[in-house]
């Protein structure tokens, strides 16, 4: 793995950009994919959003000023692309984004790329009922196992606030699961 400073230099140099970008994609594609997938739910949509994310990264890397870590910056782009995507989808269907997400979760049982059992399905439905920020914090902490400091840099939110969000999220999920059926 190349040191971040070196990778950035190579990405911002036209003669080494393509090779460095390949290395970047290789290193981060899976993490970004799974982050996006948890927001958009469908694999095909996640694929579209992931590709758009990398294209955006390719176009904006010259302006990256290393005020945050490269990873945080990319994760933030991925988050914005994914949320914009489902917002657009909700608008097209003329429904609330929360309704959109709950619909997506409900359709998982017939999704070819979902092999979860009943409890995993209920968990997705529970997550879909949470406010957007709590969903993000929950997924990043519980499934991606990111540290609060990392999440703080990505979402530009204080650690204290994130912890509170996470506690609320888990509590609501617990209630939802308990009351299901």
């Amino acid at each position: 793995m190349i040191a971040e400073v070196t990778l950035i230099e190579q990405l911002q140099n036209k003669s080494t950009k393509e090779k460095a970008f390949r290395a970047l994609m290789s290193q981060y594609k899976e993490r970004l994919y799974w982050h996006i997938r948890k927001i958009v739910i469908s694999h095909d949509d996640a694929d579209d959003v992931l590709q758009n994310t990398f294209i955006k990264i390719f176009r904006s890397i010259d302006n990256f000023k290393a005020e945050s870590k490269l990873f945080s910056w990319m994760y933030r782009i991925a988050t914005n692309e994914a949320i914009t995507f489902i917002n657009k989808k909700a608008k097209e269907k003329n429904i609330d984004i929360s309704d959109m997400q709950q619909q997506l979760a409900s359709n998982l049982s017939s999704d070819n790329w979902f092999s979860g059992d009943e409890i995993q399905l209920i968990l997705q439905k529970a997550i879909a009922t949470l406010p957007q920020k709590q969903q993000l914090v929950f997924n990043m902490k519980y499934f991606d196992e990111l540290k609060y400091d990392e999440i703080s840099e990505i979402l530009d939110t204080s650690v204290g606030s994130l912890k509170a969000s996470y506690h609320h999220a888990v509590k609501k999920i617990e209630e939802f699961v308990k009351n299901y059926n």
Partner: protein
């Protein structure tokens, strides 16, 4: 005890130590309960989310994405010259259209008037006028960019313009604006 301390001021007696000197992060103790109940709840949840990906999906990603990013070669000078050629390209493509029509309907002589505006619209809409700038560069040369030539050959009398404007069906213009 007191006498001993007079001579050895650095020595501390246990009676004098009031605090340990240890500190905790701000609000740490407030969150202990929340942390505890959250951990208990987490343990009841599944560890994975059940999402799958198609086999080999990640293997072909880099190549697919690199096809879609802009290429790195600089073609600045040629690009600004080619921009001037766009009106010529538009005219050329319409003439080409006429030419093709001419060859396919040999008994008639086709002029601009014979082509309905709908046909031209369809031609433009179907993208037949999109010309690759590299292809264009290969057929055009310096003389094609001579602006004077264009000006000399297109002197239109005012009366010709008026006649033209009078002949247009006003409704088709209004449709275009809308």
């Amino acid at each position: 005890m007191k006498e001993f301390n007079k001579h050895n001021k650095k020595e501390l007696s246990l009676n004098e130590i009031k605090s340990t000197g240890f500190k905790t992060p701000t609000n740490f103790l407030d969150s202990v309960e929340d942390d505890f109940f959250t951990k208990i709840a987490e343990e009841k949840l599944p560890k994975t989310n059940g999402f799958e990906v198609p086999k080999d999906y990640f293997n072909s990603l880099e190549d697919e994405i690199l096809k879609k990013v802009p290429s790195q070669t600089k073609v600045i000078n040629l690009r600004s010259r080619l921009k001037k050629a766009i009106p010529l390209a538009a005219a050329a493509s319409v003439l080409l259209f006429i030419g093709i029509n001419y060859f396919s309907v040999q008994s008639e002589t086709i002029t601009f008037d014979d082509i309905s505006s709908t046909e031209i619209e369809n031609w433009l809409e179907n993208g037949y006028t999109s010309i690759n700038t590299t292809d264009l560069a290969s057929v055009l040369d310096e003389t094609d960019f001579n602006d004077n030539e264009l000006i000399d050959n297109t002197t239109i009398e005012d009366i010709e313009i008026e006649d033209y404007l009078n002949s247009i069906d006003a409704s088709s213009l209004i449709n275009e604006i809308n």
